[in-house]
Amino acid sequence: MNKSLILLKILITLIVDMKYKNLVITNPSELIFGQAPHPVETRRGLKIGGGQVYAELNFTLPMMSINNDTLPDVYRHYREIAEGALTRAVELNSQGVVLELETLLEMTKTPQIGIEIVKIMNGICEDFYQKHGLKSEIRLTPNDLREFERPAKQRTSALLDPMLELFEKGALAGGDLLSIESTGGKEVSDEALLMCDIKTIVFALSVLGVRDMRFLWKKIKAVADKNGKIAGGDTACGFANTAMVLAEQKCIPRVFAALVRVISVVRSIVAIEEGATGPHKDCGYEGVFIKAITGIPISMEGKTAACAHLSPLGNIAAAAADLWSNESVQNIKLLAGMAPTVYLEQLEYDVRLMNEALKAGKLETRILQKLLVDSDIYTDPQALILAPENVIRISNALIKGDTYVANARNGALEAIDIIEEALQSGKLKLSDLETGYLPVLRDDLNSIPDKESDFIETMLPMLDQSKFILSEYGL
């Protein structure tokens, strides 16, 4: 063994094992919407996971450029979005709303733009709080600029500076829930998704992703602590959501997309290990596993996210949601009004139903959850793995190993077991094209060793190392 390999092995052993060794929620019947063992209370009094579900509205600009000439229009759009949504929330007797500002490139690259938007929206939130008692908060989600450099310099890029500036000053401007959809490992996973290369997905998420999450979330948590804000969470959008969308477009098998979601948990959980308290973000749909393992509240999206992408998870995604979201909708005019206002209404009616069930009692809550689950569970393997009893099974597998790599593998293997059991029972039906992948995926997963250093050693020669920089991951 050469010296660099020995050094690599030493460095790898310095990575701490996964913190969570036991589930916080062990009983599927306790994995329920609106209730999290560790609720989060916000500045204006939202108790997320504390007994009711709130709407989380996500939005974006309509077709337009962002430059100095259009900035007044950009600000006008965000003002209109916040005012329209909160006005409708008051009219619908909403108990509270989260507005997610997921910034676009220009708003992060020039943090002042993002900060100004937060200020505008926070002013409106405060105004509605004072005048109407409506509780609302802003989730500030800067986009991860680092992927603009290829290969990305995850740790040394100058692009980290504006991202962190936006976190810091945006938090001070009223962005109370800090989140991101970070992209560590995406350089490797994009091609692996298209090739259905499960071992490379495990490498991207449980080796590269985990390291990048640890690096980034130390910084985000420090910003949150310094400014008295809430470190929310980091969803695997560029991995699990991308896989689902590709499966929806029939590019890759649905069984593969289901496994990518499970594997992404070991990467997303690092935010919580670094001190994030939730609410976890929505679009990777891995939040239910995070909730079972850590007990933090989560945001989920389902049928109300059809404005952004199609999915097979419309109802079942709500089964354990603490915030109910719509992924993203453009600020365009629909017959009823502006699209974000329309989507706020849709979200509100969904959460009103869930909250009514919670008020009515355990039995009613479980009946509603059962209907949400049963209406989707056997329509798609991705839905199947989100059913509470399966979430608990998979979550147990996701924590039983000593390393992130082993846990990613174990979780994915458990998911395959669940899919195969459902196939054997005849409840889940999949084409031969889909089922043909299952034994191949199982074999590939079984070939992954427990020890991370052994896994890295076998994977590195097979990867195109011009696409990522090992040292940028501390390797």
């Binding site: 077709m63 290829r150 090739m195």
Partner: protein
Amino acid sequence: MSNLIEEIALCVESGKVNAASPYPPNMKGQPGSDELTKQALEEGVSPDDILNKSLVVAMNKVGQQYSENKIFVPQMLLAAKAMAASMQHLKPFFQSGEVKRKGTFIMGTVFGDLHDIGKNLCCMMIEGAGWEVIDLGVDVQAEKFINELNKHPNAVVGLSALLTTTMVNMGVIISSIREKYPKAKVAVGGAPVNLDFAKQINADQYGKNPQELIGWLDKIAV
């Protein structure tokens, strides 16, 4: 001779790159498109026949199977890899002009945008359909497209975008291209793009999916 043409086509269709490649399992140990193309050229098979009667035919079949949801993208990518292995042997004939492709297609994701999964799929399928593809990557400014057009003045340009705030950059790029190359053909595609928008920015074609785009390219190549 015709057997070799068919065997190469089978390798491409099956994603069999070379004798060492493990996929597909039922062809383990057998020569792949790499070895068979070399052999065919040594035996005097015309490189033009290899390209048009073997590789393009096989990739068309693969594209058709994909359109009919009979295979997923990984199978298509493996086929593309097998085709690329053959193309390595044909390279000298392209350079000498002995073999010609249908045309050149320059593609990139517009500036401000990093989404490239759709673009990569398009590039792969268009190459498989017999076009030379120049992939400029992501976050591409107008100048880069023009620089490439300077080298390939008859090339067709493809622009991809996935955001409502970057799709507008397609119009900017098309205007810049047309200033220097008024007759340049440009196709656009991506999640927020539609036919109306394509018309609005004077694009020649809206590609709803790679297959539609290939159909249009093949028409204008004639």
